[in-house]
Symmetry: C2
Subunit: 441 residues, 2 copies
């Protein structure tokens, strides 16, 4: 336990501080180089109140979010692939800007929060990447060029139809009489369609896939690509479907090695100490919480800092003219709409799409400034599931209240709700472009 | 914050208790129904000392591990798929027991530790499943029947060659002139070989793949299958390559809904309280640790309990005659061998294979009772990488000290180290069978 990056906090009286693994870190949000507590409190307080106002902050004054941004990107290391991915994105964006084509950045999948520098354990956010990968296909159909920024090994557009199935990919193939490997008869038709769409997107340079893993990878590359998208003006669309962690462990405090559950190196010491067992028990076990005692030495306490909320910078600084759509995933229907409204107000995005974990494939709620919240849902009459094919928004059921999950049938719906979401977003994007007053860069 | 399952602990003086998300839970290990702290301490203390002894506990006395086992499986819910997976495993084991064939249970991939009942966030262990999936192929080649118990969507035997590549699976295929979907020329040969091996394993009923996700799924199904494997006597092999979490959140204390980072519902209240800002700052920010202040209301503290260490029950109760191989992954070379030796002593397995995160594809260390620790490593002379093909252990370099990662070339080795590990394990299993004295069931 000699690692100097481990810091023990919240030690209850009588606990064994030497074997409690507590990672305790601090907020980079608005952190001056040598902050005094009062200054720090004040600036964070400003953050909270400025976000609840609808007025844009004066450009001359450096906002708290700008400070948070500067500090975050100064204090955290740029991912190794950033330069390469940024160059690929730049070439892609320039190509489509020249063709006056709409470009959407689709983010997809969950981010990891490593708990160790040599990462064995991490916190993850549930997401197979279905929303993002499916949406990307419908954006391609709608004529967009798509940058698909995804969690490595999450679902990809087109290949998603085969990668995370209960069948192994090899179950789709067989060896023909001439020894070549061929898709099985029953899958030929669908595979042909999917492969054609995939190849068409590739050959027209309409799809760029870029992977990320950690929350830090994600934030760096999101900033880079957003800034590149300024070139596109109002034709740029940011569609933020990734499940991004709200918490992280700043690198300067991260432990180097795998956190130990049983301190094998302590065992010999414990054996030596066996004679003083009574005293040791006093020390190791505590009862400071209301429930039965737990040996403090065996627990893992992970103390995480909030990720600075600089998504508002997407609007103010990174991509001020593009349209920004973000997602809000909740599990509690009671708070979903309220949380989506709060996000909309705080980040000044153009649309927040709320969804519940249990019904996310059946319905979403569109929350947009000055508009009534609208639920978009898969009509129960839909009995055939298109692989693709643009579906107009009028095909969906539009309502004002959430569904009761108990009313839904088992399994997935017969059509993909992204077939309703993307046309509705596209329509809003068209209005956004029409209403845009171009700001000189 | 009305959720009654949230419990706030470790509140430093002056912090805002209402918005600190602390999940604090207790150890089910050896927990009596109404424990007194002293009794509890004592029984846990017994655990530690009994594990450091090499002598088997008397069968008549209920060991601490047995109590831990009983409590864990009593207090945690059985996964929905347990019955079905157990039935499949039973049919598979009975089939191969009748044929007097060796059966190996290979566990593979990481386990998740959900932080919410409706899981949005979870803790995960790094593992793509490479070790397990690759090992399974070599076990099949060595004539074993394989139960492949794997984290859902991690690598599978055979399909692993195509699923987690940087190429999309569709990049391996094209549409032929007659419209059928065919593997590209350059991949035909390898794909043919892999597909033949996969189909041979399937057709001979030699491979059963069963998925798990959470640590709880894993523990339940591991117990069930281990118990079924008693039928096999010494011909059963447990090869525990999964990266299993040491920590978990007991279900009775798990929060129902997604943990909130920003309490949107508190915002209105905060606005109302704006007049009393000075006081509020005092409350929300603290400086009890040595570094700059952090708003307690914005941090996430996850407090996890240790998973009861009843892997020893594999030896004593679940599968007493089978051979048990477990893995120890570390990042710090200084402690690897010591930790592997400690595991061996504590769990009484027949072999612990130690490996380091940075060199795990290049070398492993075999730690077995009464034998000198032996490093098995890929010879640097190996320049061609077999997809499969049993390689005798003598092809590897066998040493006594770990490699320095700095001496290794970039990227993966040219051969799979599992091609050395499995033949060595197979040899030990042969000795194990020869030395076994059958205990009447």
């Amino acid at each position: 336990m000699a690692n100097p990056t481990l810091q023990t906090t919240y030690e209850p009286p009588g606990s064994s501080s030497s074997s409690t693994f507590t990672l305790s870190f601090n907020l980079p949000d608005s952190r001056p180089v040598s902050p005094s507590p009062s200054l720090f409190s004040e600036s964070s307080q400003t953050t909270m109140s400025s976000y609840t106002s609808n007025s844009k902050p004066a450009l001359a004054r450096q906002s708290t979010a700008e400070v948070a941004e500067r500090d975050y990107f100064h204090e955290n290391p740029a991912p190794a692939a950033l330069e390469e991915h940024t160059a690929q994105a730049k070439a892609f964006i320039d190509f489509h800007a020249a063709a006056d084509r709409r470009v959407v950045l689709v983010t997809s999948g969950g981010t990891t929060v490593p708990l160790e520098r040599q990462t064995v354990r991490f916190i993850d956010n549930f997401s197979a990447g279905t929303r993002g990968a499916t949406s990307a296909e419908y954006f391609l159909e709608a004529g967009y060029a798509v940058i698909f920024l995804h969690r490595q090994f999450s679902l990809l557009p087109y290949s998603r139809h085969y990668s995370h199935t209960t069948n192994c990919f090899l179950d789709f193939l067989h060896e023909s009489s001439d020894g070549s490997i061929v898709a099985n008869e029953e899958y030929q038709e669908k595979m042909q369609k999917v492969l054609r769409q995939y190849n068409a997107a590739k050959e027209s340079n309409l799809l760029l896939t870029l992977p990320f893993t950690t929350i830090n990878d994600y934030l760096f590359v999101l900033r880079s690509i957003s800034q590149l998208m300024r070139t596109l003006g109002s034709s740029g669309l940011l569609y933020l479907a990734a499940a991004v962690s709200d918490f992280f462990v700043p690198p300067e405090r991260m432990v180097e090695h795998k956190i130990q559950s049983t301190n094998a190196t302590d065992v010999q010491k414990e054996e030596r100490d066996a004679a003083s067992n009574e005293e040791k028990e006093e020390e190791v076990f505590d009862n400071f919480d209301s429930s039965p005692a737990v040996p403090r030495s065996k627990r893992l306490i992970v103390d995480l800092d909030p990720v600075p909320k600089f998504l508002k910078n997407l609007v103010d600084g990174w991509a001020p003219e593009g349209m920004i759509v973000s997602f809000k995933l909740e599990t509690d229907p009671e708070i979903l709409v309220h949380k989506a409204q709060y996000s909309l107000e705080r980040y000044q995005h153009h649309l927040v799409i709320g969804n519940l974990l249990s019904t996310r494939k059946w319905e979403v709620v569109f929350v947009a400034p000055g508009k009534k919240d609208t639920w978009i849902r898969v009509p129960r009459s839909k009995r055939t599931r298109p692989i693709s094919g643009t579906v107009s928004a009028s095909d969906g059921e539009i309502g004002e209240k959430p569904l009761d999950p108990k009313d839904l049938p088992e399994g997935d719906p017969e059509m993909e709700i992204e077939g309703l979401i993307i046309p509705a977003v596209e329509k809003m994007h068209t209005s956004h472009i029409q209403n845009a007053v171009r700001i000189p860069l």
